[in-house]
């Protein structure tokens, strides 16, 4: 009687481990779309879409599509801890916390930026195209859950 129960337990455990393993893997092998939003900016004509993807390895990537802004000196892509931002907003003056994603690769076209590990997306809710030289927000995209 006892060995049979033991065998039953062993089989049950194996089945559970297998089930857990396959669901965990199934959920992990695709890129997920986490958040998206559209740019607004009139002073420096900014438009397009910003989307945050989570890759299979857990890495977060920001992708800009149908994107267009005005070219300028020392323009960066940043995430800011705010719900939205006005044209020409100065985040230095307002002491808005930010995460730097890199220099703007092009003022037109589709482009990707890696989001640093540990970035809390519930805090950093808006993408800003930001001119570091003059501390001016060219355009902002408030992100919403996809």
């Amino acid at each position: 009687m006892l060995p049979r129960i033991k065998l039953g337990f062993a089989l049950l455990t194996l089945t559970l481990i297998f089930a857990w393993h396959s669901t965990a893997n199934a959920a992990d092998n695709a890129t997920k779309t986490l958040e998206t939003g559209t740019f607004h900016g009139k002073v420096h004509q900014t438009s397009g879409r910003a989307t945050i993807y989570q890759q299979a390895n857990g890495k977060l990537v920001l992708r800009l599509t149908n994107f267009k802004t005005s070219n300028g000196p020392d323009v960066h892509v940043i995430l800011i801890a705010a719900k939205d931002a006005d044209d020409d907003a100065n985040f230095l003056k307002s002491a808005t916390p930010r995460v730097e994603l890199g220099k703007l690769k092009g003022n037109e076209g589709d482009q990707n930026y890696v989001i640093p590990k540990g970035t809390d997306l519930s805090t950093y809710q808006t993408v800003s195209i930001y001119c570091e030289r003059f501390n001016a927000n060219f355009g902002a995209a408030p992100l919403e859950k996809f």
């Binding site: 890129t31 998206t36 092009g106 003022n107 037109e108």
Partner: protein, 169 residues
């Protein structure tokens, strides 16, 4: 006399140049005015392993009209060309004869909570549930440039429960 005036002037010219040139260079570096008409274009691929999965074409957020309605409406295209509307994080109030339709976002009828007469729309089906993620097939002929709004519509009372304007993904 004239010689003296010329040399004085040319010396002043050098002093002026010595001041003006660095200022002009600094101003150019700060403003980079040529960037106003020089564009930099990029075209990076999407961060997916493959494009075999259905890709989102349009998306928009639902806002409530006659009844509180929330969530996201997205149109996906599968690799075989078929398009589907997907509602996510969706919630509306339950009601009689509620349908999911596509309409023109500029249609004046959508401005009010109740439509007088008939709403110019494309039927996608009866609302499957008033909460939860759900998919609706789009007829092949649907022109999303014209019919660019998802409407949760109660046919019985011509009530607009909620509208989502679709924007390019």
């Amino acid at each position: 006399m004239t010689m003296g005036a010329t040399s004085w002037f040319s010396r002043k010219k050098y002093v002026l140049a010595a001041i003006a040139v660095p200022i002009l260079v600094a101003a150019w570096w700060a403003f980079r005015p040529e960037k106003l008409w020089i564009n930099v274009k990029v075209n990076e691929p999407a961060p997916f392993a493959s494009n075999a999965d259905a890709q989102p074409l349009y998306t928009g957020l639902l806002t409530g009209k006659a009844h509180p309605t929330s969530g996201r409406a997205s149109v996906y295209q599968a690799s075989d060309g078929k398009r589907e509307l997907r509602l996510t994080d969706f919630a509306t109030s339950n009601g009689p004869d509620v349908h999911v339709v596509l309409a023109e976002s500029g249609d004046a009828a959508l401005q009010s909570e109740f439509v007088k007469g008939d709403l110019n729309s494309i039927e996608l089906g009866t609302l499957k549930a008033n909460q939860g993620d759900q998919n609706y097939e789009l007829p092949d002929s649907t022109d999303l440039n014209t019919y660019d709004a998802v409407v949760i519509y109660c046919e019985r009372f011509h009530a607009v429960f909620g509208v989502a304007k679709l924007e390019k993904f």
